[in-house]
């Protein structure tokens, strides 16, 4: 497979993100992290700095640890018994999120997440979006209405669902459900949005819509996206990290990773020779 085709195709569509973006401030600092599921080590000495208001893509073959790392960033791995960060630190704005003094609930309000399979609650669209706000005790009707509209517009879903806000979120199509989940995540105004293969269960047209949405969101949020789809990483991201066997192999500007990888494994993967 010729990897240049998608990349050039996308770069012809818009200005290259790498050249356009200035060097951003570091938001998330992953510092020599080792991570274990019980006795098996899933991440080996990961060292990575994620910039603010950029899209960072994690790529790599299945089981390489990219989703694990993503779920470390909002401590979703805490929900799995026997997991631990054995060494190193993950700092967001200089604060070690694994420090005992950190309130994981507060952390997750700041670091939102969109999952691989769309998972709207079995509630109305309106209730799905206001769920996070109600958790924070916000119940002013006009306030909530405003956030619902803003979030749905932000997720490019408003025009499609504005007439049926009070019908079940499960009645939407797959792509709409995933955008509803994005709207739900941005409703609480996090700083970071983690996306765990958000398009892997969507058809090509829905995928395009979500990708376009990511381009709009990057102006307001820092986005970390895990993807299996290399063209997607090439199209959407500013920076790309390639993982293999729990190790970070290469981390660089997306253009550099795809056009001119420094590492032979990276080169082999992005050119489709394995993975």
């Amino acid at each position: 497979m010729d990897i240049k085709t998608p990349f050039t195709a996308s770069s012809s569509g818009r200005s290259s993100p790498v050249s356009a973006a200035p060097v951003g401030a570091i938001l998330i600092d992953i510092d020599h992290v080792d991570f274990y599921y019980g006795a098996s080590q899933a991440l080996h000495d990961i060292n990575l700095k994620i910039e603010e208001k950029k899209v960072t893509a994690f790529i790599g073959p299945s089981g390489c640890g990219k989703s694990t790392l993503l779920r470390c960033l909002n401590r979703m791995n805490d929900l799995i018994d026997g997991t631990r960060v054995a060494k190193g630190q993950i700092k967001i704005r200089g604060i070690d999120i694994y420090d005992p003094s950190v309130d994981v609930i507060e952390l997750r309000k700041r670091v939102g997440m969109v999952f691989q399979k769309s998972n709207p609650f079995p509630k109305s669209i309106y209730e799905n979006i206001t769920y996070g706000l109600r958790l924070q005790g916000r119940s002013n009707k006009s306030d909530l209405d405003a956030v619902v509209e803003k979030s749905l517009r932000g997720a490019a879903l408003w025009d499609e669902v504005k007439d049926r806000l009070h019908t079940s979120g499960l009645g939407l199509s797959g792509g709409q459900q995933q955008r509803l989940c994005i709207a739900r995540a941005i409703a609480v105004e996090p700083e970071v949005i983690l996306m765990d293969e958000p398009c892997s269960a969507l058809d090509p047209i829905a995928t395009v819509k979500v990708e376009e949405l990511i381009q709009e969101l990057r102006t307001k949020f820092t986005i970390v996206i895990v993807t299996h789809n290399m063209q997607q990483a090439a199209r959407c991201s500013d920076k790309t990290a390639f993982f293999y066997m729990g190790k970070l192999i290469e981390f660089a500007d997306t253009r550099a990773i795809f056009m001119n990888p420094a590492n032979a494994q990276t080169e082999a993967y992005v050119s489709g020779r394995f993975g």
Binding site: N119, F121, P122, C181
Partner: protein, 533 residues
């Protein structure tokens, strides 16, 4: 045998070459075995249903005859007057209660000795005696009439028995013996005249009765406290309400006619809405399901009230909060409860729980609890507590399944939005599994309503509609239940008798109740599956 065209030789192995016994291959035998099992269960169900219906429906015809005899033999007529007598008895009970209150007021508030207290109540006692004795002439009339009506009924029943005997003899071909059976025909017109002839005497007696009551009321002494005065006023009101019913009763007696037909629907309504279940009575048998149904309902409600929080709470804890080690310990423990035979639970209820509850109720510190203290060891509460124990494993297991079926993705999404574990449980997990939990509760209810041994042993077996005027204290009253009555009485009844058939109809009622509950639970579960997608 030579076929005209010899089959072409082939090594393509598609011919069946399996071992066959009686023309059946092993596969066929397995198929027949399983199919046979399924068929037998369907057949058994059909037979049970048929049997229940066949035995049960005969009841309504018999009950109709039962009600007809009640009217023809004049029992109904006598009961009009008897109602008055029992209403008066209820009033005298009110007076005894009032005396008790005065007595405790005198001993506790005024610190009188019991003897002195009794002394102070002499005026009241005289009044009460006057009021109580005024019923005597009426009571005399009732017992006289009762004897007459019973005689008529007995005569009629004997005649019926003889007729049956003659029929049997004729059927056996013993014509001579059949002819020898003496059947005394009962002429209700003549017999009943003796009853209705007492009407003028009754009218006179009733007028006298009212006068005596009013006169007695005038002698009522003043009460020591405002609260007791209100009670006495209330009594006066009740008494005047009572005397106000006299004209209506007289009218009923005047218009009573033994020839009036009993409408067919009364055979059903007397069963469905009958407030009395009275069997093997010298007077009149009543088969009303209401007290039994209310008993079952109350016991089940108490059981559910205890079992739902326990079962659902335990399910939520085990499924959502407990560590793996706790799960491994708690789940088998709760499921083990269902392995305890219900007769053992009932035994435990009599020997331990009933005693314990009564002892608790008699503690002064708990006197504020409604219904405490109580003296009946076996009552709705005792039976309800034990039935709750029976329902908990059912509710727990099914509710836990329902919680387990909530997609993990919902929980993750909730956590990712900054929800705490408790918020996630309350706002996401429980609502998403609510229909499953409701159907778990319904199946628990089905389990409880059908339970027999525990209620038979622990519900107290008093056939009466619980007195709801007692408020929450109603749960400390003994009741009898639909299942209990069948288990208790089925062994003693004559096959084919009206009592026997009445028990079958109660069984039918239970059958339909369980059916309805299970059906509802199924419906809810199905709806739930669709909504989750």
């Amino acid at each position: 045998m030579d076929s005209p065209r010899p089959a072409p030789a082939s090594d393509f192995l598609v011919n069946k070459k399996r071992v066959r016994v009686l023309g059946l291959s092993f596969d066929d035998a397995v198929k027949i075995f399983f199919g046979g099992n399924a068929f037998v269960s369907v057949l058994v169900l059909a037979l049970i249903t048929y049997f229940l219906f066949q035995e049960g429906f005969g009841f309504f015809g018999q009950n109709h005859r039962n009600l007809l005899t009640y009217r023809q033999a004049g029992l109904e007529y006598v009961d009009y007057i008897r109602t008055q007598e029992s209403a008066h008895t209820a009033l005298t009970r009110y007076l005894s209660d009032l005396r008790l209150r005065q007595f405790s007021h005198a001993t506790l508030e005024k610190k009188l000795t019991p003897a002195a207290a009794n002394e102070s109540l002499v005026a009241f006692d005289n009044f009460a005696a006057l009021y109580g004795d005024s019923v005597e002439p009426l009571r005399g009339l009732v017992s006289e009439l009762t004897e007459q009506a019973t005689a008529i009924k007995t005569k009629f029943l004997v005649a019926e028995d003889k007729a049956v005997e003659r029929q049997q003899l004729t059927a056996e071909g013993k014509i001579a013996e059949a002819a020898a059976v003496q059947i005394e025909t009962v002429d209700f017109a003549v017999e009943v005249k003796a009853l209705t002839g007492t009407l003028p005497a009754y009218k006179e007696l009733a007028a006298e009765f009212i006068k005596k009551l009013d006169a007695a009321l005038l002698t009522a002494p003043a009460m020591p406290t405002a609260e007791l005065t209100t009670r006495l006023e209330r009594f006066r009101q009740l008494s005047s309400d009572f005397t106000a019913t006299f004209p209506a009763t007289t009218r009923s007696l005047e218009t009573w006619d033994y020839t009036r037909a009993v409408p067919w629907y009364q055979a059903f309504s007397a069963f469905l809405f009958g407030r009395e279940w009275l069997t093997a009575s010298f007077w009149q048998d009543w088969y009303g399901i209401v007290p039994l149904f209310m008993g079952s309902l109350m016991v089940s409600l108490v059981a559910l009230l205890l079992a739902v929080p326990m079962g659902v709470g335990a399910a939520i804890y085990v499924n959502q909060i407990a560590s793996a080690a706790e799960q491994r310990f708690i789940k088998p423990c709760i499921e083990f409860i269902s392995a305890i035979p219900s007769v053992v639970l009932g035994f435990f209820g009599i020997a331990v729980l009933g005693q314990l509850l009564r002892w608790l109720s008699q503690q002064d510190a708990l006197a504020w609890v409604p219904g405490f203290p109580f003296s009946e060891r076996l009552n709705i509460l005792t039976a309800g507590c034990l039935l709750a124990l029976i329902a908990v494993p059912t509710i727990f297991t099914l509710a836990e399944d329902a919680l387990q079926n909530v997609p993990k993705a919902f929980k993750e999404a909730s956590f990712a939005l900054g929800a705490t574990r408790l918020q996630t449980i309350i706002k996401i997990v429980v609502p998403a599994s609510l229909s499953g939990i409701i159907s778990a509760v319904l199946l628990g209810l089905g389990r409880v309503i059908g339970e027999t041994m525990v209620v038979l042993l622990c519900a107290g077996n008093r056939i009466a509609i619980p007195d709801f005027t007692a408020g929450l204290a109603v749960v400390t009253q003994p009741v009898h239940t639909m299942t209990g009555i069948i288990a208790q009485e089925m062994g003693e009844v004559v096959r084919g008798s009206i009592h026997y058939r009445a028990l079958f109809v109660v069984g039918l009622g239970l059958f339909f109740l369980s059916l309805a509950i299970n059906f509802l639970a199924q419906k809810i579960v199905n709806k739930y599956r669709i909504s989750i997608g």
